[in-house]
């Protein structure tokens, strides 16, 4: 379980990193953030990068800013920071709740926000949160900077809209005051990959549900937003069957893959149950917040 030889560079700034990526473009360099996925993949020899650009010395990417409830999180911010930050708990409680479910504590102390989102593991929590929160993802390259909406970022398993010479530098989250939230997931053991995870945000409009945002992980080829279920919820009475129906609709059309831990059929069953549980919790919290 040792990786084959590879070229390694540890730049200190974003611009150095970008020029290294550009310089070695032909070799398809891999960016190393927290290393909690890439390093095992290399040790198992499932990934054979010939060039690795390590961002751990790029301190300018490790930050968390709050501006009128809008959160901006540097890509190299460790996941553990999310759990402990008062700003995150206040401004993006969904993110704080999800962060606590990422693997185990030691992993969260190394794992980064940007690393998880750019790696785009279908079972990872942060992509689902980014989708549910309508996050804006900032990508930088030698060609400049661009902002990618989360809804356009996740393309498939381990596949994103990032170009080979681009680095994800920050995650911007809009303010969402007064929103009920819930992140729930089913995993066989604590800290293991989620078979299904659900990120839910729910606003009340009078006695009715106003806006709802719902994103899943584990249930598809990548994290996904389930807009049909959201539409069904918008304007519905929370007392009726809307949540149950939304759970059915959210699962409809999904074909989760089978793996060592669960059949696709079981994951589908879990999706319905966990969408329901997430929405019920989000609703209760929205009602509490009034």
């Amino acid at each position: 379980m040792k990786p084959p030889p590879f070229y390694y560079a540890a730049p200190a700034t974003v611009s150095e990193a970008l020029s290294l990526l550009s310089e070695h473009r032909e070799s398809e360099p891999r960016v190393l953030a927290g290393g909690q996925s890439l390093v095992p993949l290399m040790n198992f020899r499932l990934a054979h990068p010939t060039h690795v650009i390590d961002l751990n010395k790029v301190t300018e990417l490790s930050f968390l800013r709050s501006d009128d409830g809008r959160l901006t999180i540097g890509a190299m911010t460790r996941q553990a920071v999310l759990e402990r930050s008062a700003e995150v708990r206040l401004g993006a409680p969904l993110l704080a709740e999800a962060a606590g479910m990422i693997a185990h504590e030691p992993i969260r102390h190394r794992g980064t926000v940007g690393g998880s989102i750019a790696h785009a593991d279908p079972a990872a929590e942060l992509p689902a949160v980014a989708l549910a929160m309508d996050a804006e993802l900032v990508a930088a390259s030698g060609r400049g900077e661009r902002v990618i909406p989360a809804t356009e970022f996740f393309l498939g398993p381990f596949t994103t809209a990032l170009e080979p010479d681009e680095v994800l530098t920050e995650v911007r989250l809009p303010a969402a005051p007064g929103t009920g939230y819930a992140f729930v997931e089913f995993s066989r053991t604590h800290g293991n990959f989620a078979l299904v995870g659900v990120a839910a945000l729910l606003e009340l409009d009078g006695d009715r549900i106003g806006r709802a945002a719902l994103a899943l992980c584990g249930a598809g080829p990548c994290a996904l937003r389930v807009t049909e279920a959201e539409r069904l919820l918008a304007g519905a009475s929370p007392d009726g069957d809307a949540i149950g129906e939304a759970a059915e609709v959210a699962a409809a059309g999904l074909t989760p893959s089978s793996d060592a831990h669960a059949s696709g059929e079981f994951k589908l069953r879990l999706t319905r149950i966990y969408v329901q549980r997430a929405l019920e919790t989000a609703l209760a919290r929205a009602q509490d917040r009034r």
């Binding site: 379980m1 040792k2 084959p4 095992p40 198992f44 020899r45 185990h104 089913f186 053991t189 293991n192």
Partner: protein, 813 residues
């Protein structure tokens, strides 16, 4: 993690045995000075990586190692064909090793995914793994056997052609009047149960550093295998060197749980590579090597059971028919079923037993040892069917068990197989467990929460915890055994230095997560009235060693206690003679008091051990001629109670006599939507005879229970239809962590063994021998209102939901 009650000291005259002293091993391991095999290095040491088979069953057509050999830093590349020249087959206690031959690397064909095909020896493990990728093997895939039932079908593909079938062993034993008991029974309760394979998962994998000296012909090995002593000469045979040229030195095993019990392959591979290269060679399994190729997968059984029962709850007889999927080789034969037969009727007066075992070979890594060694599977099977019987006759499951208990005045009690239970008090353990398990409280909670749609289940099981095996259980299977071994000794040397300091030398017991040093220190401290933390414990390699067997079958503490008692007795005899001479009095007038000998009734006239020791070490001429200098004695302690099986094997003799007992109460809640199981409460009460260290035993119980939770709910080595091992890393092989293991309320009861030193029984495996049964019974209790029952371990969420779905699909009534 656990609540441990402090038992009343059974024998107030004991000063150290029975005390929860701090473990003497801890300081070195907590400081990172344990010296594991990964830290062990020799100048010029090379490193091995193994090319593992990607096929479950395939003929090896050709192997091209040219590119690998020419990679810079590679010292040697050896294929299975090379290894077959360099080494004889592996040590093997299977039924017919000539027909199911096991080698350190696959030769001619591969029989499971992960089997070694070739090895690379290189300057670093990195280079070795680079070179492994350059080896080009052409395979001709063969039909794959994964399902043991399919392996039994005539005409099935053969794992070993010379064997002529895939059944390595098939025999039916009748103990007692089986047919009479079944004919007289009011009803027969039937069950079909499936225990799927899991295995012990040590943090550190198996590793061996071998250093062959071509000048002397000496092979020096440093390894973390825990059985480096007992059958060492067989490893030498495999390596084609004389046994007295092989010196194996123990390194801390880290964890074993049985998985390093007979870990000989890494030593053979490292030894072979050292012989070829003339340099020290280290082979340490990586995680995938260990999970896929460790030769220590656990039991993998299918049971058809019939229990003959009377309406009043009396259990009369049991018929057990089991198919055990051994994988591609069968290194211990069916010894695992000897473990089952040692306590096959549990704590109950079941009068007769029929036992059929079929050992089937398939395309999987072979079985080895895993905490319980097959007895835990029997415990689970028996408790599941006993619980089913209680439901079928409508009797309270606790009362049914109690009604059938062997009573305290019936010991020593011979069970139908011929094994003896030395002592026990099962009602006392049960009563304590009902209390600690808050049984009545949880029964009322179960009803209250049921009204809220919640599913609580309570599983109470009463099981045996056999300890200290005799080797007869490995061969009484055959009318004409190949090797009717009966020696399972353990040795200790005690030395009192000139200052009275005590050093104990162990000849096995590479630290495997247990507390062998604490045990021996406490036992020696008891004899000599010193502080256990002042006793030095040393280990000896095999070349200078005394006969020793090593841990296994919960034997260590009992055997060490016997050896310490024997060696101290010799030392005390000599010290008494010396003291008598020094005090000019008859030895008979002396008594041992407070760390020295004193004249009976005259506490002023005494010699401390230190005074005696310095005299014996330095003042030889102060003593009569026959007294030798020094104060050091050894004891080779043999199994204290073994009898031979009868010729017709209707009586297997006494082979596992020191019978512990336990009662576990598992309280579970099942989420019937998701199939997830949680534990609102868990209690475990064990009786392992006299306690040496209640806290370290509690550690055993907690760890074993955690593993039992793994076996019950999470752990499974899954081979898919193509024989691919899909759980080959800890990403997929799920184990419970601290988050899944509840706080465990632990109770101890002490029924001393009449046959062992201090009355100690072994207790190293008890948690895992009980927990799977308790949790399965608890889950079934939770699901009973739904008409569902689980008969397969592990009880994954999907299996639980499938059982609920099946119950829902059945027409009501």
């Amino acid at each position: 993690m656990s609540v441990t009650e402090t038992p009343k000291v059974a024998s107030p005259e004991r000063k150290w045995v029975g005390k929860s002293v701090r473990r003497v091993e801890d300081p070195k391991f907590l400081r990172g000075r344990g010296g594991y095999v990964g830290d062990f290095t020799l100048p010029g040491m090379l490193h091995v990586a193994v090319l593992r088979s990607p096929h479950a069953h395939a003929r090896i057509v050709s192997i091209d190692v040219g590119q690998a050999r020419s990679l810079r830093g590679v010292a040697a590349v050896l294929t299975g064909a090379d290894a077959a020249q360099l080494c004889d087959p592996m040590p093997d206690f299977g039924p017919d090793p000539a027909s199911h031959t096991w080698r350190c690397l696959a030769h001619e064909k591969v029989r499971y995914v992960g089997e070694g095909v070739a090895v690379v020896v290189a300057e670093s493990r990195y280079v070795a793994e680079d070179a492994v990728e350059l080896i080009d093997v052409e395979y001709e895939p063969l039909p794959v056997l994964v399902d043991p039932a399919e392996a039994l079908v005539p005409g099935a593909p053969l794992v070993h052609e010379p064997l002529g079938s895939n059944v390595a062993y098939d025999r039916t034993f009748d103990f007692g009047e089986v047919e009479r008991d079944f004919a007289e029974a009011d009803l027969v309760v039937r069950d079909r149960l499936r225990w799927r394979r899991s295995g012990g998962q040590p943090l550190e994998t198996v590793g061996s550093v071998a250093d062959y000296d071509p000048a002397s012909g000496m092979m020096t090995v440093h390894t973390n295998s825990v059985s480096f002593t007992s059958y060492l000469f067989m490893v030498a045979g495999t390596l084609k060197i004389p046994a007295n040229k092989l010196d194996i030195n123990p390194l801390p095993a880290g964890g074993s749980f049985g998985s390093k019990l007979f870990a000989t392959k890494p030593t053979v591979i490292a030894g072979m590579c050292s012989k070829v290269t003339g340099r020290p060679v280290s082979y340490i399994e990586d995680r995938v090597d260990n999970i896929s190729n460790c030769d220590h997968h656990g039991s993998d059984r299918l049971y058809d059971v019939e229990l003959a029962v009377m309406r009043d709850g009396t259990l009369r007889g049991i018929k057990i028919d089991t198919i055990d999927d051994y994988g591609a080789y069968i290194q211990f034969g069916v010894g695992h079923h000897g473990n089952a037969l040692a306590q096959v009727v549990g704590p109950y007066r079941i009068g007769s037993v029929q036992y059929r075992v079929r050992a089937v070979l398939t395309n999987k890594n072979q079985q080895g040892a895993y905490r319980g060694f097959g007895s835990e599977v029997n415990n689970w099977m028996l408790e599941c069917v006993v619980d089913k019987a209680a439901r079928e006759i409508g009797m309270d499951p606790v009362e049914l068990r109690r009604k059938n208990f062997i009573q305290p005045d019936q010991f020593p009690y011979f069970i139908p197989t011929g094994n003896v239970y030395d002592s026990g008090d099962y009602d006392a353990v049960l009563d304590k467990a009902l209390e600690l398990g808050e049984y009545r409280h949880w029964r009322s909670e179960q009803q209250r929460l049921a009204a809220q749609g919640r599913h609580i289940g309570i599983g109470l099981i009463t099981c045996q915890e056999r300890s200290v095996f005799s080797a007869t259980e490995f061969w009484f299977w055959f009318d004409e055994p190949g090797a009717p071994v009966t020696s399972m000794p353990e040795s200790v040397t005690l030395k009192i230095d000139a200052t009275g300091g005590v050093t104990a030398t162990l000849y096995s017991c590479a630290f495997w997560g247990n507390s062998p040093e604490t045990m021996v220190a406490q036992l020696a401290a008891e004899e000599f009235d010193v502080d256990p933390h002042d006793v030095t414990v040393a280990y000896q390699g095999t070349n200078q060693g005394l006969p020793a067997t090593g841990p296994g079958g919960s034997r260590t503490t009992v055997m060490l206690a016997g050896a310490v008692k024997g060696a101290s007795g010799k030392i005390k005899d000599k010290a008494r003679q010396a003291a008598a001479h020094m005090l000019e009095i008859s030895p008979d007038d002396l008594e041992w008091v407070g760390g020295g000998y004193q004249v009976k009734g005259l506490p002023d006239r005494r010699k401390s051990l230190a005074e005696i020791a310095v005299a014996l070490h330095l003042f030889k001429h102060g003593f009569p001629d026959e007294v030798e200098s020094g104060l050091e004695e050894s004891k080779v302690y043999d199994h204290p109670y073994t009898t031979m099986p009868s010729d017709d094997r209707s009586d297997l003799g006494v082979f596992y006599p020191f019978m512990g007992h336990a009662c576990h109460v598992a309280v579970v809640e099942v989420d019937v939507q998701t199939g997830q199981v949680t534990f609102p409460h868990y209690a475990a009460v064990h009786d392992c005879g006299t306690l040496v260290n209640p806290r370290s035993l509690a550690g055993h119980i907690v760890g074993g229970t955690a593993q039992g939770i793994g076996t019950a709910l999470y752990e499974e080595l899954v081979y898919d239809a193509e024989g691919q091992l899909v759980t080959s890393s800890f990403m997929d092989y799920l184990m419970p962590s601290a988050m899944e293991v509840p706080e465990i309320a632990i109770g101890h009861h002490e029924t001393p063994s009449p046959y062992t030193s201090h009355g100690i029984k072994g207790g190293g495996e008890g948690g895992r021998m009980m927990a799977p049964a308790a949790i399965n019974v608890a889950v079934n209790d939770a699901l009973a209102p739904l008409g569902a029952r689980i008969t397969t371990l592990p009880m994954t969420p999907e299996r639980i939901l499938a059982a609920i779905d099946a119950a829902n699909a059945r027409p009501a009534g």
